[in-house]
């Protein structure tokens, strides 16, 4: 089960109203390599993972991704909450606004709605963990590009934190893969 705590994982700061930047950051809210895809991928893979240490890793990283999803939503919300119609018109956020107003909705920066086809669960620890490691690196790359286009120092600070978490999770999944491959005395070898 899950238990909600009324706090963010990291103090999200936003210095400006910036609908254009918000429309790009939404990539990590509902895009292929975004936090929602990451969370559901790892949590879906838990049931059939044969090693208890790797189950714990999938469980806890999957849970952390949901906290990151909340942080990304907070960035988008705070970049747009005070925006006037004039500030929205002519920006890429305008297309989001005509359907959702200032609500958060999981689609990517180009407007495609989130889909479960962004990830897989294969009941195969080697296939799953390789997907997980690739997913962390793809998310890290997305954060690099977002940092490159960010012109808000508070947003950049949060994006840097999230980029670092991708690196850390990649490390933990790499160790998980080694645990699977080194399982001595197991009936089944991977």
């Amino acid at each position: 089960m899950w238990l909600y705590e009324k706090k963010l994982q990291y103090p999200v700061r936003v210095d400006t109203t910036n609908p254009t930047l918000a429309a790009m950051i939404i990539e990590q809210f509902g895009g292929a390599d975004g936090e929602l895809s990451a969370g559901l991928r790892y949590l879906s893979q838990r049931w059939t993972m044969p090693d208890k240490r790797v189950v714990a890793t999938l469980n806890d990283i999957g849970t952390e991704e949901l906290a990151h999803w909340e942080m990304i939503g907070t960035l988008v919300y705070r970049l747009t909450k005070d925006a006037t119609i004039e500030q929205i018109k002519g920006t890429p956020f305008e297309a989001h606004y005509v359907n959702h107003g200032k609500s958060l909705y999981p689609h990517n920066a180009a407007g495609s709605p989130w889909t479960a086809t962004y990830f897989n669960a294969k009941d195969d620890p080697i296939a799953d963990l390789h997907e997980d490691m690739a997913a962390e690196e793809k998310a890290r790359a997305t954060y690099e590009w977002l940092i490159n286009i960010s012109d808000d120092p508070g947003v950049t600070d949060t994006l840097r934190f999230l980029r670092q978490r991708e690196i850390n999770h990649f490390q933990r999944f790499g160790e998980s893969l080694m645990l699977m491959q080194d399982n001595n005395g197991c009936r089944k070898h991977y």
């Binding site: 238990l3 009324k6 706090k7 103090p11 210095d15």
Partner: protein, 86 residues
């Protein structure tokens, strides 16, 4: 939310993050005694700070005891906290 409350929340968030880090590491290294010691020390301090914070400022989870009226619904929700003046 005044400066003192934000500072105390931030301190709690720091301990919570430290716990997240050591927990993830321990999942793949359950026999690392040094990491376990760091985790356990931070855990004790985290729960002390959390209990004191909730006593002074209201519930962070809906499992705690609240004064009247039920204070879990009180604002701000996390996405509305203004960390900008740090």
């Amino acid at each position: 939310m005044d400066r003192v409350q934000i500072d105390r929340l931030m301190e709690l968030m720091e301990y919570e993050f430290a716990l997240t880090e050591t927990a993830l590491y321990l999942n793949t290294h359950p026999k690392d005694e040094r990491a376990l010691r760091i985790h356990n020390n931070n855990s004790a301090q985290y729960f002390r700070l959390k209990e004191a914070y909730e006593m002074d400022y209201g519930l962070l989870t809906n499992q705690g005891m609240s004064g009247y009226p039920w204070n879990y619904v009180e604002e701000p929700w996390p996405w509305d906290i203004d960390f900008i003046r740090i």
